[in-house]
Every structure is written in structure tokens, then in C-alpha cells.
Amino acid sequence: MTADPYGKRVRELFARPDHAGDLEKPSARVQIDDQGVRIALAVQCDGDIIDRLRFRVWGCPHALAAAEAVCREFEGRPVSALQAFSANEIMQTLPVPREKLGRILILEDAVRSLGQGARVSPDAGEDTD
């Protein structure tokens, strides 16, 4: 018996990935390629506040949806919040099936690195990892 592997929220995020794309002058940028998923994030800050957050993903619908969710959630919040991002939270809120935890941890890595990058070199566009 097959339940829908995608919840309503995942379907909506997947269908409307408004934050997919790039930034011309990002405050920080990160890309990770591991565990069958490739994630790129870019952030543009206005002082300590995240102004714009963009993602690119090659991966399963959960990875895409999670990246979009992160972007939606963090815009307008302090950069420091990125470092507190937890995979566990998004696993539950989307929700994401247990067996895909690995991919969401890659996203966690990327988000935290992005937070790090944005703090260390506020105007740099370097890749982390």
C-alpha cells in the first residue's frame, strides 16, 4: 500500500520554487554535491539581515522543497539564524521521510556554511566547501 510520498506542503513548495535561481552580487554562496543531491545557496544581506536568499538543487522533490522552504523562511531574518538551522525541524515540518535524512543534512551543512560565509566575509562571493 502506497501512501502519497509527498505531503501537501512538499507538493506546493515543489510546484512553486519562487526562490530558485541566483543572485548577481551575493554576500555569500555555497555549493555541496553529496549523497545524491547537489545544492547551491546564495544570500544577499542588508547589514545583519538576510535580504534575499536563492537556491539551486539537483535532487529529489524533498530536497527541492526543503531548499525552497529554507529560502522562504530566512528572508528578513538575521544572518545568525542560518547557523541555527536544523535538519530535524524541516524533516518534521515538510515532512520528509526518514530515509532521506542524509540529503536534508547536506542542506543543513549548506545553510550553516552559508551563514558562516556571510558573517566572515560579508561581501565575498566565494564558495564554501
Binding site: 502506497t2 510520498p5 509527498y6 507538493r11 515543489f14 520554487p17 530558485a20 555549493q31 554535491d33 547537489r38 545544492i39 547551491a40 539551486r56 538543487v57 539537483w58 535532487g59 529529489c60 522533490p61 527541492l64 530515509e99 564558495d127
Partner: protein, 391 residues
């Protein structure tokens, strides 16, 4: 499935709807007023029930080109495959413990061989070429004096690739090796004349050919040495080969489906060919697209394509409302790349992006056009979202 407005069903290799004529045959047999009695009962009601079974056996035998007594009713191709392989392996265990099959078989065959491997049988897994076709010379080289059974499917459920069962069977017959064919995807779709084919055991199922789910059959040639031990025991139905109350309405439905398939085979085949041609022409120019499986040796109801730089699971979701498959239906919830496509030499990534489109009698050109548009759009969108490969 133009009739469910919000979907476009292109997964006829996973299951077909029962033909309306099949439903008409079955419906009156279920309830009171119909011939619902147990066909093993000797009384009038039982005999009336039994007459439906006999008619259906005649219809299926005619489609397969065999005799009615050579057919055993089962619950589907999975059971038929198990009965054929385990049943023959047990019956001929004295002859030797070497078996031959291919990694591109359906799980209902491959998994049985995996179990037999654990039980002390030795299995040779013959690889096809990169179009999915097995060269008979490879089979010839693999047959040994202790080989007791070869099992090779006719039409592959993921790629539609057709094996040359006549040539393969002839090699088996020469060496007195039993030859089993999983014909779940080919019965009613390709002409078969078992009486003159070197096939000993052939599995089939109704729900792939516009009959009901839950009924199948195994053909057992009446040649010396061709016999299977039963998988289940009980009342003496079907000469003890497969006991249990016969599911009369399903059997009657399978019979009718066989009759229709026989009459309309040619016409259906042309319909499917034109649909596949239309779909392939609509997408073949896409960058990095790869067709999986032979073009010339394949059943036209299936088109399987992989595409570079697109993730399979997301592609499948982006294709909605198309109902299509990645691997075979029974794998569709697992994340593993198809072992069939790996056997064709596809990389994991490419195998993982594979989409199986499969067409049926009800499929329209409009549905195919929608599939083309949707596929192109989904590929473009997902590629757009993906980051460049080099970081």
C-alpha cells in the same frame, strides 16, 4: 485514462483497465442469479459454473495456440513464475542444480532464482547487449550437462525489448533443458503458437491484457519430463497442480480478454506503434536524451527514455498529471536504479532518470501530445533549477 479528467494514464505496462466487454462477462457471474456456485460441486449449479471455466480455457488456449489441458489457473504471473521455476526445479532436482536466467528478468522471476541460489542451486545470469537483447550464442555457451531450466522473458516490462524465444527455446530443446518464458507482457500482444514453439512453461496474467487482476495461468507442455511440483496443496482442483476454489468470474473475464486480444491484436499493435512513434519524435531532439532498449526488437507499447542532468524522482513528480513509471511498478517506491537498465550498461544516474511511458488501447494521440509537452517542460524546468555541475 482520458476518463479521469485530472490524469493522463500512460502506465499500461503496470496494469490495464478491464475491457468493458470483459466487465460485462464477469459482472453477472459474481452475484445471486449468476452462476456463482463452486465449479467443483457436482450439482447443476456447479456444472453451470464449470462451463464458464471450460469456455475460458478454450479462449485462452486459442490465443496461446495450445490445448486447454495444458493450462493451470493461478492468481497471476508472479504465482505462475514461481510455480514454473520452483516447481520444475523441485521436480527435476535429480537432473542437476544449474539454472540459467538474465538480470533483466522481472522480480517475480529474478527473486525466485535468488532464493534458489540460497538453497543450493547455481544460477548463471546472462547479460544482454546494450540494447537489451540476448545473443542466443551466449545461451548456447552457458548450457551445461547439469542445466535443468532456463528462464527468459519474452517482452521486458521496463523496456519492451523482445527476446527471440524461438531461437533460445530451440537451444534448450536440443539439450533437453526445460525452457520457461515469462510472457506477462506479451500474451495477447504478440502472436504465439505454443504448439509449435520450443517452450515448456509459459507464465501469463490477465491484468496486463485488459482482463481482471488476481488471475493468471501457467502453460505446461505435455512432454515427458515437463512437470511441476505444486506450490500449494489442498482439494483436488486442477488435478492437484493448483488447488483452491476456482475464481469463475475472473477466469471467464480472462477468457474474454484473450478472445478480444486475439481478434484485435493486429489493430492494437498498429495503434501502439503510431503512438510510440509520435512520442519519440516529440522528444528525441532533447539534449542528452537516451532511449533504453532496442528500437527494432521491441514491443511498441513501451517507450523507456533516460535523460542526462535531470533527477528521476523530481522528473516523475514534475510530469504529473502524467501517470508514468520509473522502473517496474513494483519497484516504483524504492530508490534503487533499475537493475534492468544497469544491465544495459546505463550509469546509475542515467538509469535513475528513466521514465517508462506505456500505451494502451484507450490511449489517444492527444494524450501523447500532452505527454510530449509535459516532458519537455519538466526537463527544462528542472534543468533550470539545477546548479551547474562544476561548483
Amino acid at each position: 485514462m482520458s476518463n479521469i479528467a485530472e490524469m493522463v494514464y500512460l502506465d499500461y505496462a503496470a496494469s490495464t483497465p478491464a475491457d468493458p466487454r470483459v466487465v460485462d462477462v464477469m459482472t453477472p457471474l459474481f452475484g445471486a442469479g449468476g452462476d456463482f456456485a463452486n465449479p467443483s460441486s457436482g450439482h447443476t449449479a456447479g456444472r453451470r459454473s464449470s462451463a464458464h471455466v471450460e469456455r475460458a480455457a478454450g479462449q485462452l488456449a486459442e490465443l496461446l495456440g495450445c490445448k486447454e489441458e495444458q493450462l493451470v489457473w493461478t492468481s497471476g504471473a508472479t504465482e505462475s513464475d514461481n510455480l514454473a521455476i520452483v516447481g520444475a526445479a523441485r521436480y527435476r532436482a535429480d537432473r542437476g542444480r544449474h539454472l540459467i536466467t538474465m538480470p533483466t528478468e522481472h522480480k517475480a522471476v529474478a527473486d525466485v532464482f535468488h532464493v534458489l541460489e540460497k538453497r543450493g542451486f547455481e544460477v548463471s545470469w546472462l547479460r544482454p547487449d546494450d540494447t537489451g537483447v540476448l545473443d542466443p550464442a551466449n545461451l548456447e555457451a552457458a548450457i551445461r550437462p547439469d542445466t535443468q531450466l532456463v528462464s527468459i522473458m519474452q517482452v521486458n516490462n521496463e523496456t519492451g525489448v523482445i527476446q527471440d524465444i524461438e531461437a533460445l527455446g530451440a537451444l534448450c530443446r536440443e539439450r533437453d533443458v526445460l525452457f520457461h518464458v515469462d510472457a506477462a507482457q506479451s500474451v495477447g500482444k504478440l502472436p504465439l503458437a505454443l504448439a509449435s514453439l520450443p517452450v515448456d512453461l509459459l507464465s501469463t496474467t490477465a491484468h496486463k491484457v485488459y482482463g481482471p487482476k488476481g488471475i493468471g495461468a501457467l502453460y505446461i507442455a505435455d512432454r515427458p519430463g515437463c512437470h511441476v511440483e505444486p506450490l500449494i496443496y489442498g482439494g483436488g482442483q486442477q488435478g492437484g497442480r493448483r488447488p483452491g476454489t476456482l475464481a469463475v468470474p475472473l477466469i471467464a473475464g480472462f477468457g474474454e480478454a484473450a478472445r478480444i486480444a486475439r481478434c484485435e491484436m493486429q489493430e492494437n499493435h498498429e495503434h501502439l506503434r503510431s503512438l510510440r512513434e509520435r512520442l519519440w519524435s516529440g522528444i528525441r531532439d532533447l539534449d542528452g536524451i537516451v532511449r533504453n532498449g532496442s528500437d527494432s526488437h521491441s514491443f511498441p507499447g513501451i517507450l523507456n527514455v533516460s535523460i542526462e542532468d535531470v533527477e528521476g524522482e523530481s522528473l516523475l513528480l514534475a510530469l504529473e498529471p502524467l501517470c508514468v513509471a520509473t522502473g517496474s511498478a513494483c519497484n516504483s517506491t524504492s530508490q534503487e536504479p533499475s537493475s534492468v537498465l544497469r544491465a544495459l550498461g546505463r550509469s546509475d544516474l542515467l538509469a535513475q532518470s528513466a521514465i517508462r511511458f506505456s500505451f494502451g488501447r484507450p490511449t489517444t494521440s492527444a494524450e501523447v501530445d500532452l505527454a510530449v509537452a509535459r516532458y519537455r517542460e519538466a526537463v527544462a524546468r528542472l534543468r533550470d533549477i539545477a546548479p551547474g555541475r562544476a561548483a
